[in-house]
């Protein structure tokens, strides 16, 4: 068995003038959940299409379970399960027919690998005679995942499976992934939701075709460079605008019901309290706070833009 499930070395890809990926390199361990986190247009889909042999890179090498994604494309298609960002099953076929179709193409049967999809499929099995086009969003997602799994892939490639999905279904989907991981399947998943990073073993933060950082979520948070404080008060809109122009602060971003303020150098809580008092705010609460992946992402975006 190779050391890593997926190895990506110096992959670049352009569409005409547009550089979709620039010199991307990283490895994914066996049976881990690896998250590729970044906004639309970051290059996530391009990279996944290369990994599944659907697109050829301009330069660089990538292997999945030891197979080169260009030369050994036939093997790649056998060992990967791919769930594209857009629902790509047959609307006119029923739930059961779709699943059967994918099983047959890969020379297997639903029965043979039923254990892999059982937890997911039982939830849609009552609707197995329904056409895929008439399923709700959450059910479509479960069917797509079942179809990607039915040939018992070694590697599962999931392109934004939770985009446009509500908070409850998102949570359920990640619970399913955690269970799949126990079946010795490597999972590489992309998402624009920063809060999903903490559910991955390793994450790569990607922006404009470049990897900004790769590590465990905990280490990325640990590497956050500045002292960070959580500030809240009655007039959030004014408070935010003033803190953005606070010379002793590096950045001020809204986070739910509070503002995260990153301070320069040795400045800290006392300076924030003085500043808000000076601006006429009362009942302001200031306390130190741990960074989140979203804080890290924004700090890295700014660093990269400055370059």
């Amino acid at each position: 068995m190779p050391d890593y499930s997926i190895i990506i070395q110096n992959i670049s890809k352009s569409y005409g003038q547009v550089k979709a990926l620039t010199d991307v390199s990283f490895q994914v361990e066996h049976s881990e959940i690896f998250g590729l986190i970044g906004p639309d247009g970051a290059g996530k889909t391009t990279l996944f299409r290369i990994l599944t042999s659907l697109l050829i890179p301009d330069s660089g090498v990538a292997t999945v379970e030891g197979f080169d994604v260009v030369k050994s494309y036939k093997q790649i298609r056998q060992i990967t399960g791919y769930m594209p960002g857009r629902f790509s099953l047959y609307y006119d076929l029923t739930v059961e027919e779709n699943l059967n179709f994918f099983a047959t193409i890969f020379g297997t049967t639903i029965e043979e690998n039923y254990h892999l999809i059982r937890d997911i499929y039982v939830q849609i099995e009552p609707f197995k005679k329904r056409r895929a086009g008439n399923l709700s969003g959450g059910m479509k997602q479960k069917l797509a995942l079942s179809c990607a799994l039915i040939h018992k892939p070694k590697v599962l490639v999931l392109d934004e499976p939770t985009t446009g999905v509500d908070a409850v279904s998102r949570k359920e989907f990640w619970e399913m992934l955690a269970k799949l991981k126990e079946q010795d399947i490597t999972i590489i998943v992309s998402t624009p939701y920063m809060d999903e990073a903490s559910l991955c073993d390793h994450v790569a933060l990607i922006q404009k075709g470049k990897i900004m950082t790769i590590d465990t979520p905990a280490k990325i948070i640990e590497a956050y460079p500045d002292p960070l404080y959580k500030v809240s008060g009655p007039n959030m809109f004014n408070l935010l605008n003033q803190l953005r122009n606070f010379p002793k602060a590096k950045s001020a971003h809204r986070f739910g019901d509070s503002i995260h303020v990153a301070m320069k150098g040795d400045f800290g809580q006392a300076e924030i309290e003085d500043f808000t008092k000076e601006k006429g705010h009362e009942e302001i609460q200031v306390k130190p706070v741990n960074a989140t992946i979203e804080d890290s992402f924004m700090a890295l975006m700014n660093t990269n833009n400055d370059k």
């Binding site: 970044g38 906004p39 446009g164 509500d166 624009p192 809204r254 986070f255 739910g256 975006m301």
Partner: protein, 243 residues
């Protein structure tokens, strides 16, 4: 924000065959308010929004949007609202200027007025140099911000935003909310849906739909207090998962 209702919904029911998509909805939205309209997939949000925009007729109920009746005055409603869908809706192969002229023209603005407002907009956003660029060539973050600016270009009284920030990077997402606050400050009522629960905190009030009904409606602080949790994510999970 005022205490004057600009949207009034009484006993809104919408059925598709035997399926009840909206089950006796009752709520009001105030002028200048940022109103978050949340719910799980399939809870009935899109159905309600289509009705409020005059695109679909309710099965029963009394509804008034921007002072107009939802049954008899849908054309007047459409003229007084703006709408931005989750799918990018500007024309990629038209320039920024052409897109603005097109949309503003549909709403019947004069050329003179369009040019005046366009100069204003480009100056405010500091993007005068993008005027003659094809929309398709602009960065994604800009596209969303421009789609919003175009949606309120005719100065509607209400703007409906359907998941406006899906897939957008975290900095652009926050800049987008700056635009929303600015518009609300200028008196435009904001009716917004989102799957980002931190954004629910940015709303003045939030309603949460579950299975066709409004299960909760309050300020974010009020909801957190009622359900004894620390953030909106937990409020949402408690309500939507209970079903």
């Amino acid at each position: 924000m005022t205490n004057k209702p600009i949207i009034k919904v009484e006993n809104l029911v919408k059925k598709f065959g035997n399926f009840v998509a909206n089950d006796h909805l009752n709520f009001e939205v105030y002028e200048g308010e940022i109103f978050g309209f949340l719910g799980a997939n399939g809870a009935g949000k899109t159905t309600a929004i289509r009705i409020l925009c005059g695109l679909s007729t309710p099965t029963s109920g009394n509804l008034n949007v921007a002072g107009f009746d939802i049954y008899k005055q849908t054309e007047l409603i459409k003229r007084n609202i703006g709408y931005m869908s989750q799918k990018f809706s500007l024309y990629e192969n038209l320039t920024l200027k052409e897109n603005i002229r097109f949309y503003a023209g549909i709403y019947g603005l004069s050329s003179k007025e369009i040019n005046k407002r366009m100069d204003n907009l480009l100056e405010t956003l500091k993007i005068g140099d993008l005027r003659d660029k094809l929309i398709g060539s602009l960065p994604l973050g800009w596209k969303q911000k421009l789609a919003f600016s175009v949606a309120i270009f005719h100065r509607p009284r209400i703007v409906f935003l359907d998941e406006p920030t899906g897939g957008v990077d975290p900095i652009t997402r926050r800049q987008f909310w700056d635009l929303i606050y600015q518009a609300a400050n200028d008196g435009i009522t904001i009716f917004v849906t989102t799957h980002y629960m931190d954004e629910a905190e940015y709303c003045d009030r939030v309603s949460i739909m579950v299975d066709g009904r409004i299960e909760a409606l309050d300020t974010p602080a009020g909801l957190k207090k009622t359900y004894k949790v620390s953030n909106m994510d937990e409020v949402f999970l408690k309500l939507a998962r209970a079903s």
